[in-house]
C-alpha cells in the first residue's frame, strides 16, 4: 500500500498533464497560426490599382497620390501645437478633438489625423515633419478620374466593412475594395495582389528580423490594366444629352455584343466619391430618393418595352407561320376586345406588316397576337411557345452582363397568369396588351438594346459585355464570344428590318433621319402609372426608341428610354438619332437638333407628381 502511494501519484500526475496538454495543443490549437501569432507581424505592400481605358485606349480612370497625416498617440511628445495646426490648416480645437479621438481608438495604433492633404500642403509639411515625433505622413493611392461620365458603370471603391472581412480572408481592415460597377466586377483584376512581409517581433513589439528567412513573403502583384468596351466620347456625349432627363441609353456593337455606351440619367461626376468630401457626397447621392443618381437606370429600370416589342411579335408570328408579310388587319382607330375599344394612333385603315410596324398600329398587332394563339389548341400551349421565342431574345431573365447589378425584366408565362387570374380564366384577349409591348412585359434598356442588336444581326446576339481586354492579354471570357441564336429563322428578319427602316422613311421617326446613314428603328410610347397617396395615377408616357445603323452591316444598336418623355419619336428618338450620328460620323451635322436636345429638360414633368396639385399628362408642349 505505502509502496504504491508514490507510484500512483506519479501516474495520476502524468495522466493529468497529458490531458491538459492535449486540451491545449490538440483541442484549442488554431491552425490559423501566422495571423494570430503576436510574435509575427505582417507588413503589407499594396500594388497600384489597375488603370481603366476605353475601347480606343483613352484613359478613363487612373490613380493619384494622397497624403494622410497619421498619429500614434503614445509616441507623441509635447509640440508647438499652433505651428503644427497652421501647417495642417486646422484649428487648435479640431486638432485637440482629433487627438482625443485617436487616443480613444488606440494609443498604440496609428490613426488618421488629417486625411488627404493637397500636394502643396504636403510639400510644406514634409520638411518639418521630423520635428513632430509620433506623427508621420502616409502615402495612399486614390482613384483619379479622367472623365466626368460613366459613374455608375465604373463604380467606386471604398474601405472594406465587417462583412467583407468575415467573408473574404484576403482583406484586412482599412483596405479598399470595389463596391459597384466595373470596380466591383473586376476587383481582383484591378486590385492585383498585395505583397506581404512577415516580421518576427519580440514581446516589446520590436522587429527582430524576418520570419522564416522570408520564405513565406510574397511580392506584390500589380493590378492589371482594364480596357473596356465603352467609347469614352460617346459616353460623355450621351450624358450631355441626358442632362435634365431621367432614363437610360444603352448602345451595343451588334457584331460583338460590346457595350459602347451605358448612360443613366441623372448621373454624377465619379470624382465626387474620391477625396476629403467623399462621405458627404456619398450621403447626398445615396439618399436622393427622388432622382436616384446612383440607381443605374440603363440596367435596372424595367419599363414596359412598348412598341419596339411589336417587332418581336411580328417576327414570332412570321416564324410560326400565322401571318405572312401580306396578311392584313383593319384598324378602326383602335380595336375591340369584347365590347371594349382600345385606341390606336396610326390613323386607321387597312394595315399590312410593313405599315403596321412603321405606323405602329396597335390593331394590326392585336390581330396578329390573336392569330398566333389561334394556332394552338390551348392558350397554355400558345403561351409556352410565345414565351420561348421572347426569351430567346434575352428578355425575361438576367442577361449575364459583366456588371454586378442587373434586373431580369419580365416575360410573363402561364404560371404568372394562372396565379393572377386563376387557372383557365384567361385567354389571349385577356393578355392582348402584350402584343403592343404594354401589359405585363417589362425590359431593361440594356435588354432592349440587346434585342435590337439581335434583330440587327438577323437572328443572334452576343451577351452584352463591358470587358474588352485585360492587361495586354487578348481574349475575354468565352461566354461573351459565343453566339446566342434566337428561335427566329434568318429569312424572317429582312421584311421586319425593312419596315423598321421605313419608320425613318415614312413612319413615326421621319423627322429625325440622319443624312447619309440608313437607320432601322422603332418608336415606343409607353403608358405608365405611379401611386400618389395610395391612388393609381397615370403619368406622362415614357418615350422609348430602339434603332440600329447602318441597316447593312450594323455598327451600333441603341435603346433609349426617357421617363415621361411622351412620344417615342421625341426625346428618345432624337437622342438615339444623335447618338448614332455621333458614333458613326464622329460629328453632328444637325446642330439645331443637337441644341434642342442639350437644352430641353423634363424637370417640369418630374415635378408634377411631387407638386401635390392636380396635373395634366401628355401635354402637347414640345
Amino acid at each position: 500500500m505505502r509502496k504504491l502511494l508514490l507510484s500512483s501519484f506519479i501516474i495520476i500526475i502524468g495522466i493529468t498533464f497529458l490531458g491538459r496538454l492535449s486540451y491545449l495543443q490538440l483541442f484549442s490549437f488554431s491552425p490559423n497560426q501566422i495571423l494570430e501569432d503576436p510574435a509575427i507581424k505582417a507588413v503589407y505592400e499594396y500594388p497600384e490599382r489597375g488603370y481603366i481605358y476605353d475601347r480606343n485606349g483613352k484613359l478613363m480612370v487612373g490613380n493619384q497620390p494622397a497624403y494622410d497625416v497619421m498619429v500614434i498617440p503614445r509616441e507623441t511628445h509635447s509640440l508647438d501645437t499652433l505651428e503644427f495646426c497652421s501647417l495642417l490648416k486646422i484649428t487648435k480645437e479640431e486638432f485637440l478633438e482629433k487627438m482625443y479621438k485617436a487616443r480613444v481608438y488606440s494609443p498604440r495604433l496609428p490613426s488618421v489625423l488629417v486625411p488627404q492633404l493637397s500636394k502643396e500642403d504636403y510639400a510644406s509639411l514634409q520638411e518639418k515633419m521630423r520635428k513632430y515625433t509620433g506623427f508621420y505622413i502616409q502615402k495612399r493611392s486614390l482613384r483619379d478620374y479622367k472623365t466626368n461620365s460613366a459613374a455608375n458603370v465604373l463604380g467606386y471603391i471604398s474601405e472594406v466593412n465587417e462583412t467583407d472581412l468575415r467573408t473574404n480572408p484576403y482583406y484586412r481592415a482599412g483596405e479598399l475594395k470595389g463596391r459597384t460597377g466595373i470596380e466591383k466586377q473586376y476587383e481582383e483584376v484591378l486590385r492585383g495582389r498585395k505583397g506581404v512581409k512577415y516580421l518576427q517581433k519580440d514581446r516589446f513589439n520590436r522587429d527582430i528580423g524576418p520570419y522564416k528567412n522570408k520564405k513565406l513573403d510574397t511580392l506584390p502583384e500589380l493590378g492589371k490594366e482594364l480596357y473596356i468596351t465603352i467609347d469614352k466620347d460617346l459616353q460623355e456625349y450621351g450624358e450631355r444629352l441626358m442632362r435634365g432627363k431621367r432614363g437610360g441609353i444603352v448602345a451595343i456593337e451588334p457584331a460583338t455584343g460590346e457595350i459602347l455606351a451605358m448612360i443613366s440619367g441623372p448621373t454624377y461626376n465619379p470624382a465626387l466619391l474620391v477625396g476629403r468630401e467623399r462621405s458627404k457626397n456619398y450621403t447626398k447621392l445615396h439618399y436622393d430618393s427622388i432622382s436616384r443618381p446612383t440607381w443605374d437606370r440603363s440596367i435596372l429600370a424595367e419599363p414596359s418595352p412598348g412598341s419596339p416589342f411589336k417587332t418581336l411579335n411580328a417576327l414570332v408570328a412570321l416564324q410560326e407561320g400565322v401571318i405572312d408579310t401580306n396578311t392584313k388587319f383593319t384598324c378602326y382607330n383602335g380595336f375591340y376586345v369584347g365590347n371594349q375599344k382600345k385606341g390606336c394612333h396610326c390613323g386607321g385603315g387597312v394595315r399590312d406588316m410593313n405599315s403596321g410596324i412603321f405606323r405602329s398600329c396597335n390593331a394590326y398587332f392585336a390581330g396578329t397576337f390573336r392569330k398566333f394563339y389561334g394556332k394552338y389548341p390551348t392558350t397554355d400551349e400558345g403561351m409556352d411557345a410565345w414565351e420561348k421565342h421572347m426569351k430567346s431574345f434575352g428578355l425575361g431573365d438576367y442577361l449575364g452582363v459583366d456588371l454586378p447589378t442587373g434586373r431580369p425584366g419580365r416575360i410573363p408565362d402561364k404560371q404568372f397568369y394562372d396565379k393572377w387570374y386563376g387557372d383557365n380564366r384567361w385567354a389571349s384577349s385577356t393578355i392582348i396588351s402584350n402584343s403592343i409591348g404594354q401589359g405585363e412585359v417589362a425590359a431593361t434598356p440594356i435588354q432592349l438594346a440587346n434585342m435590337t442588336a439581335a434583330i440587327a444581326n438577323r437572328g443572334y446576339f452576343y451577351i452584352p459585355h463591358i470587358i474588352k481586354k485585360i492587361g495586354n492579354k487578348e481574349g475575354i471570357p468565352p461566354q461573351f464570344t459565343e453566339r446566342k441564336y434566337t428561335t427566329i429563322d434568318q429569312q424572317h428578319f429582312a421584311p421586319v428590318i425593312q419596315a423598321m427602316a421605313n419608320v425613318y422613311k415614312y413612319g413615326t421617326a421621319r423627322w429625325i433621319q440622319i443624312p447619309e446613314i440608313e437607320i432601322a428603328g422603332k418608336t415606343g410610347t409607353v403608358e405608365n402609372f405611379t401611386r400618389i397617396d395610395g391612388e393609381r395615377v397615370q403619368l406622362t408616357d415614357h418615350s422609348l426608341f430602339t434603332a440600329f445603323a447602318p441597316v447593312e452591316q450594323p455598327k451600333i444598336a441603341v435603346a433609349v428610354y426617357i421617363e415621361n418623355g411622351y412620344y417615342g419619336a421625341r426625346y428618345a428618338g432624337h437622342i438615339a438619332s444623335l447618338m448614332i450620328e455621333q458614333y458613326i460620323k464622329r460629328k453632328i451635322t444637325r446642330k439645331d437638333l443637337e441644341k434642342k436636345m442639350l437644352e430641353k429638360t423634363l424637370e417640369h414633368e418630374y415635378a408634377k407628381p411631387l407638386s401635390g396639385e392636380p396635373f395634366k399628362i401628355n401635354e402637347y408642349v414640345w
Binding site: G14, L24, Q25, F29
Partner: protein
Amino acid sequence: MFGSSILRRLDWLTIFLYLALVFFGWINIYSTTLSNTAATFYDFSTLYGKQLFFIGVSLSLVFIIFSIENNFFERFASLFYIISLVLLMGLFLFGKTIAGATSWYDLGFFNFQPSELGKLTTALALAKYLSDIQTDLKRRKYQWYAILILLIPIILILPQPDPGSALVYFSLFFVLFREGLPLQYLGFALLLILLFVTTLKFGVIWVCIGLGILTSIFFLFKKEEFKVPTFPLLLFLVACVIISLSVDFVYNNVFEQRHRDRFSLWLGLEKDPIRLEQIKKTIGYNTYQAERAIESGGLSGKGFLEGTRTKGDFVPEQHTDYIFSSVGEEWGFIGTALIIILFTFFFLRLIHIAERQKRDFSRMFGYGVISILLMHYFVNIGMVIGLLPTIGIPLPFFSYGGSGLIFFSAMLFIFLKLDAARLSEL
C-alpha cells in the same frame, strides 16, 4: 579509481533517461537563449554555452561521487545537514538579493544557492535519522524529530522569501509516509487543502451542503452491520465547518495580496473585469503567454529554432522556470508528451530501484531524491500549463541554472552509487 564492477552494476536505464532529459533540456535552452544573445551582449559567454559548462561540471562530479567510499554520505549526513543550516542562516547576513529573494551567495563567477544544497543534505539527514535502529515512526516523539529535520530548513527559507524551495522540502514528507508515518496525516493534509480550495471557490455554504450530501450518501450506502461512531463523525464534520469558516480569515489576513492574486487567478475568483485584466497582465502574464505558446505548437510543433514566441521572448523566464513552454511551442504535443512519458518512466524506475535496496538508508535516501525531483516536476509543469498557481521552481535537468543541475545530478548519482554498491556490501 573505481573498479569495473561499479560500472557494471550501475542502472544504465536511469542514466540513459537522465542523459536524454539533460540533452533535450539543453537543446531547448539553446533555442530559448539564442535570440537573447543576438540582442544582448554578454561578457564572456552565451547562456547555452554556460549550461554546457554546467553539464560538464555535473558529469565530472559524477566521477567524484563514484570514487567516494560508500558509507561516506551516511556517515557525514548530519555534518552536511548542519553546514547547510549554517549556510542558510548566513544568508541573513551575507545573502545576495536577486528578484526580491535573498537566496544566493555571490561567489563572483557563480551565484550559489544554499537551499539547493540543503535539499540534498536534508534528504541525507532524514534518511540517516529514519534508518537509525532506534527510530520508530509509530511513536509521537520520533515523528516530531523527523518532522523537525524538515521544518528547520523550511523555516530558514520561507523569510528569504522562497516559497517554491520551501514547498520542495515539504515533499520529503513522502519519505515519512513511506516509512510508516500514519497515512491519516496525509489524509488530513489533503482534506485541509481540499477544504481551503473549495471554500475559496464555492463559499462556506456550498461546502456545508457538499458535506451534508457526502454524509447522506455515506449513510445510504453503508453496510447494515456497520456501527457509525456518531460522536467522532460529528466532531469531524464540525471541524470541517470551522476550518471552512476560518478560510476567509486566513486568506485575507495571513496571505499577502500577491498570493491572493495568484489564487484568484487560478480559481477564477476575480469578478471585476478591470481588476482581472490587471491581474492577467501582471502576475497572470507569464501563465497566459506560456499557455498560448504551448497551444500554438499544436500536434507537431513549429520545429527546432522556429518557435516564434520563443524567438520573440514572449514568455518571461523561458529558459529557466518556463522552459516547458518552449518545448510545447517548438516540439508540439509530440514533444511535451514525450517529456511527460520520459519523466514518468524515470520516476517509476527510481521507485523500483529504491524498493530493491537492502539497506534502509539507501531506500530512504532514494525516496528523498524521488520526492524532491517529483515535486519540482509536478509544480513546474503544473504551473506552466496553467493547472497550478504560479510558484517559481525549475524543471529538473531541463531548466537553465548551475546549482540546480549540479545538485539534482549529485542527488541522483549518489543514489545510483548506493544502488550499485548494494550487492558488494552484503
